[in-house]
Symmetry: C2
Subunit: 153 residues, 2 copies
DNA sequence: ATGCTTGCAAACGCTTTGCATTTGA
DNA sequence: TCAAATGCAAAGCGTTTGCAAGCAT
């Protein structure tokens, strides 16, 4: 991602947050700003723990509860998407400026890559449709070893 | 599943457990037998909580810890497979006499259906391969509304 | 008799919640 | 001003673990 992309994404995310807050009579706070900046500056798929550390660099003594509450808010505002991989804890990825995608996860180093495959998407819809299901969302995760970890082991 | 299938599965599962235990110097206990019977008698995708209730019918005052330990043992013995859907808690499905499959889950009633699609499997391998990943296992879950719940809502 | 198993309760890790206090509009 | 937001600590939830007592071999 280029610096301009990042700047655009930040601007758009801030705009969405502002509108979401105004629309609901909620308030803009320094904590929310700090969490948003930390979230967008981090890699995709940050955990709350990682986010807390990052936020504390800018804003001493922010509570984990606040980070959780912020992220919940961002999800509602469409700024963040929640993901739960095999480890169980929640990770967040940007919800603006990203297309739908699935994940490839290295069990050794934890690396997470994204991919997208229209054929799989279509087949999923066909399978669901043939059983009368309407799909709200799906989860497709491939777990294994990335090239580097495969070599080491 | 017919009665004979069930009987066959039960027999095979017991044999596997026995051999697993002997092989490791572990012991056969009434609790392990009771949990195995309850597990195989239950629907696929039972939670530990459901399993505890069922086991208690046969064996009063069995601890949840024991059920957790039994299921861990059964997974090691290849008798059970662990699944974690959106709710977070562990569910188990039979590991003997079942083919690999993915899941279709109704968000309203919790119904879980199984499906299998060779084309999707192949595409997954291609995607992983093209990035140098070797896949150990995957997770494909389609969440939505089953025909019945779609009608009601 | 030995040491694997059990059941209980306590500990766990992550997330949510209650509440007094602070803060933004 | 005054409801919304924060920070802390406590509670929640499903799961795991330590330990003394029980039981299979």
């Amino acid at each position: 991602m280029t610096g301009e992309d990042r700047a655009t994404r930040l601007r758009e995310a801030k705009a969405r947050l502002r509108s979401h807050l105004e629309h609901r009579g909620l308030r803009s706070t320094r904590q929310r700003d700090a969490v948003l900046e930390a979230f967008l500056a981090a890699d995709a798929h940050v955990s709350v723990e990682e986010l807390c550390e990052r936020v504390r660099d800018a804003h001493r003594s922010i509570g984990a509860a606040t980070v959780y509450r912020c992220m919940g808010l961002f999800v509602q505002a469409g700024i963040a998407k929640e993901r739960r991989f095999h480890e169980g804890r929640i990770r967040y990825e940007p919800g603006v400026g990203t297309e739908h995608h699935d994940h490839l996860i290295c069990l050794a180093c934890g690396d997470i890559q994204e991919f997208e495959n229209p054929t799989i998407e279509r087949l999923q819809d066909e399978i669901a449709g043939s059983r009368g299901f309407s799909v709200t969302y799906h989860r497709l995760e491939l777990y294994g070893l990335c090239p580097r970890c495969k070599k080491i082991s």
